[in-house]
Symmetry: C3
Subunit: 266 residues, 3 copies
Amino acid sequence: MLEATLKQGQLLKRIIDSIKELINDANFDCNSSGISLQAMDTAHISLVHLLLRAEAFDPYRCDRTLSLGVNITNFNKILKCASNDDQVTLKANDEGDSISLAFESGKKERYSEFEVKLIEIEADQLGIPDTEYSVLVHMPSAELKRICSDMAILGDTVTITATKEGVKFSASGEIASGSITVRQDASADDEDDNTLIELNEPVSLTFALKYLNIFCKSASLSNRVALSLSKSSPLLVEFKFQENGHIRYYLAPKMENEGEENADDE
Amino acid sequence: MLEATLKQGQLLKRIIDSIKELINDANFDCNSSGISLQAMDTAHISLVHLLLRAEAFDPYRCDRTLSLGVNITNFNKILKCASNDDQVTLKANDEGDSISLAFESGKKERYSEFEVKLIEIEADQLGIPDTEYSVLVHMPSAELKRICSDMAILGDTVTITATKEGVKFSASGEIASGSITVRQDASADDEDDNTLIELNEPVSLTFALKYLNIFCKSASLSNRVALSLSKSSPLLVEFKFQENGHIRYYLAPKMENEGEENADDE
Amino acid sequence: MLEATLKQGQLLKRIIDSIKELINDANFDCNSSGISLQAMDTAHISLVHLLLRAEAFDPYRCDRTLSLGVNITNFNKILKCASNDDQVTLKANDEGDSISLAFESGKKERYSEFEVKLIEIEADQLGIPDTEYSVLVHMPSAELKRICSDMAILGDTVTITATKEGVKFSASGEIASGSITVRQDASADDEDDNTLIELNEPVSLTFALKYLNIFCKSASLSNRVALSLSKSSPLLVEFKFQENGHIRYYLAPKMENEGEENADDE
């Protein structure tokens, strides 16, 4: 059986809220080391991988591997009944057909319990190969969110070009063309505001803004985001929850000749 | 004639705003002791009873009984032109066909006057019998509002079960079933946050959430709400305005066997 | 060529945002003294005249007269990509077919550049005759905005009547009639809250609220607004940007006999 308590329900609320546009149904895979979820979006273009380590919970107990199929939209509705500060406890029996959520307010004067029905989902576990990335960018997540939202005003795709000068996001469309460049900057008063660029090799790749903008909903989960780019691999966008887990999004680049060639030129 | 001045228009603005979804037209019944309004909702399922005592106004003058028929939607639109801090004066002549509203800002540099046409409404005064209730719950109005809104995620009805353990609100539907339990708690730093339960006899009754959620719009009128339940009577939901009046909602329970039997079991 | 830098992009953002409902396309006329724009609304009922003096920019350079035709909706979308605190630089070549906007954040770690295509607009420059106005009202812009929004609840037009007693805005419609009166008041702690009325001759004129409410979007540009009224001239509504420019709206009165006669009576 699973029994896992989060001191602050807010983390789970935000996780589910940030992936609900991407995926309809998914399995929570629970074992002694924690809870994970891996799913492709409904259009099978991007992949999300969530990990919540056992250390994120207190207490955490999971005797044997459990795969709990959940409709994310419904799960999200129920989680909206938890306050950000509520303690959230997940419980499931080995042979049960439901997952139980209990929400407790700090002062214990309110106690809520919900039983959500589980669903059968075909396991579709995809191996994610370890990749050597050409460029690694650590930046404020709010900044990435804003850039992707601005670029979407211009067009459907953004070209991310990383060189020694910085990382340039560019897009063009009928009304205008434009670009936003971020530069290495490790001087901010608040470390979270720094932009750090590790460049092994210049790269220029084009991505669908629709997906990037959905990924950026996870900016509420972490002040920082890491972008990992490599010419022949999907983009990796990672938001870490302190030491206790992460949410990772993978998105294949658009196979436009233009994007490919630019990378070679520089 | 009627002449009644509220130092802070906010109270009247909120009252009208909170009943506008429930009733279209209603008579303001004015006499020397104050202004009252009693009406059934458009579907004739719930009853609202508003009382504003003469003491709420300064000055207040009403020589003889007046019944002023008002379209609540239109009255609400006009009240939106008053600032929360504006002094609001209501005036009506004995034989007039309109009610006048005057709004004055504290510093008197702005003065607004509106004449709203009165309408004829068939008087439909219903006697409300005095009832001995089995259970009386005093709780923060924001808490009730939130519980009713959470329960509406699960289904159309909520079962309120009051026992020695506390008051349990439960609902179930296709995606999940759930319950929220509030317990007696008189220890809050702020008295307004206390939950007080007076139990003569356990009771379990089922109500339409649609109406409860409309009633809870009045949570803006008072930090506290009182629920009075009895097996064979409508639920009474009361919001008091300090010492100067109240708004009371009555709602008949759903006649489901299930709800009835639970009450007997406990 | 034009090169003009605003230290705070917010001013340009708000200007364009406030005129975007009124006009679709317009020429920015640039010369050594600054940038101006003059256009009738799409229904040819009101006129907007914007002036940004060279002094508003630093640096400002415009060698020869340039007329830059811009689609306001698209220009507004691009400006939304600037933060309020971003430095905004406009650039255009004498023979170019685009205007360039560059946004720089204070700390320079982000740099955005956009190229917006110019469009051909038939020059339609209208002379605005100097007028001796009968009444000049200086008031808080938020107050005018609110009055126009309140009056629109009652009807489509507002009659503005200025007498020694003050300035009365009145409207009437199916649900009610009403009026709001503002009086001379030079006693406010904050000068911006004063209402100053210069009256040469009483006047009463009726205007379409739809346009007044659109003009009032410019209340975000200035705490103060000036209304200039005269019996036989369009109303002038002016918002000043400190010393560096203004936005002026002109609106012809409704030619209703009622409105005219009232003015004569007083």
